[in-house]
Amino acid sequence: MNKVIAKENLGKNVVRFEIEAPLISRKRQPGNFVIVKIGRKGERIPLTITGSDAEKGTISLIVQIVGVSSHKIASLKVGETVTDVVGPLGRPTHIEKVGTVLCAGGGVGIAPLLPIAEAFHEAGNRIVTVLAARTKELVILEKEMRAFSDELLVMTDDGSQGMKGLITEGMEQIIRRETIHKAVTIGPAIMMKYTSLLTKKYNIPTIASLNTIMIDGTGMCGACRVTVAGQRKFACIDGPEFNAHEVDFDELLIRLAGYKKEEKYNYGEFLKGKVAN
């Protein structure tokens, strides 16, 4: 079960996996995620399903190496297995034909954006995409995104690829130029905060997919709670997508940083162990 079928490097510290998960591959819809765990002592972490092949019975996941768990996952070789995979979790994206959809993805947030852009494209929408990253090596999935986009713009902080500047600058250029009916924004919380402020200014309905801390993914722990329109929501069962204009991003930012100290320490110890071994 859950055998790694294929593995590919997508850029600096970003890896794509195709893993066996026949039941999930049949049920999965854009916007869904899985929770995976590596080894008996592993942590449960959420990963968006970026693609699936129901006939082969596989799903694809994209992992950015940021800590112990992502490091462990990224170290898996073809033929090895992921200890636990459960899903598909979360509510699927509400896909409809609206006209033009602006897809704004930053960093590893481009991975969860891919299946959503694909679905909106298939529903007959015009897709304009803005991808952003700090630097060239961190721009992932450009080719794949291009396949579903009528137009695609890359923004880098240092200008090493595409235009130099922030994602919001690229988005605003487009918004000023043509009518946007809907926006989808996925990336680091701080980016989503500013992209949604921008679309709010232009009154564009926007969805954001929130990358909260999670444990079970079934509504049981409340670690994933966020405030949306003044109400408490659990990202794993009520989300992960919400009306971006109603999300309290400042609270999300603080909560995401909650375990940073512990995680950093763990990762340090883990890497030390690796060197020692």
Binding site: C221, R232, R255
Partner: protein, 481 residues
Amino acid sequence: MIRDEWRKELRKSMTAKERMAIKRVVMPMEDPIERLKGNTEVNKGLSVFEAVKEAQRCLDCANPPCIQGCPVGVDIPTFIKYIEAGDFLKSAQVIKQSNLFPAICGRVCPQEVQCEKNCIYFDKLNKEPVAIGYLERFVADYERESGTTYIPEIGKISQVKVAVVGSGPAGIAAAGDLARYGYQVSVYEALHELGGVLRYGIPEFRLPNHIIEFEIDNLKKIGVKFYTNIIIGKTLSHDDLKESGYKAFFIGSGAGLPKFMNIPGENHVGIMSANEYLTRINLMGAAKQDYDTPVFYGRNVAVIGGGNTAMDSVRTAKRLGAERAMIIYRRSFNEMPARKEEIKHAMEEGVEFLNLNEPVEYLADENGRVNRIKLRRMELGEPDASGRCRPVPLKDSEYSLQADMVIVSIGVSPNPLISMHMPELKVTPSGTIEVCGELMKANVEGFYAGGDIVRGGATVIAAMGDGRKAAFAIHRYLSGI
């Protein structure tokens, strides 16, 4: 009641006066200071000598009131008298006719409001009741350690398949009985480990994991199949299960969703539900060396609530090094829903009880981490719908307290995963599945439910009782008797 000869003899071997002169056994316990250094079980269990002596106290009443107090009707005097006679394995068999999991129930049942409350010693003689719970645990442990566990007989094997959703007490009790009736039983569990709350909620120091594993292994031996990492309604739908031949369903999906109080600051870092805290520790091993899941180590830990979950959380925090571990509860000791023994153990371990207090707001430092709680004092007013006195806030009683970690343990609501994906299933306004009476039958043909998903947060034994009733109803439905 007709008594066997051996039992009549046993009865005559001591006078009632002699029996009543024996003092209730004291459970041997791990020393409170030692306890806090690790996660070992607090209650060590009775010795053979202690168990037999305690069994002698039981007067073997003609109309035993204790049985009425047991939600599953265990034949208590009979199992106790087998202990007195020294036949511990037979005693275990007697319990297992009504309760397949005595090692679990002997540890976590609230005996003081069930069987022991009805015991004639307590009810009529104004003495301490017979320690029924300790004795139950004793025979279960004796049997397990003897290596000759009684595996119940299995009825005529049938090829009919039955699916059980959830591997908590309700699910495993239903699965055990269904397998005994001869059905092909599959249990589907959303998490990566089996046992429901027994596994992710109740800590090792109260219910060691090896006991849950042992009981689940016994179910595997009688043919029950377990599948982890499968969420019914997500990974597989009930229609998928019907297509693969399942003829009846038992839903024991529990009351997973933690409630919060909705007061300002409740989403600050360092504030979490008891489920989150206990899951990190018990299911994910966060406090163990080499496990990847992180957890906070609070210095001043406040736990909001007075139930078993609150006691488990506060005692866990104490074991993880909290200098102050506090229970903040809006009523008084009398109304506390936790088992009496857990409250006692918590006190021994140095837990502080701030009863008649209620949090009104949480404050945080510049990093968003909680650092103070604003509280107000309460007094008890008239009884409310639950029959307990309603707590009323005292005017101008607000004050604040230092806390760098807060665990909210004010109850749970039903897991909506199933009902969300089965709109035809009738649920109450509070989200519990509606069942018709003793049959535990839901409004959809072939569907039965029990445990916390039907009752809201209840008890292990109530969940097990539901599972068994439902198994019997499913058996009648499938076999047409």
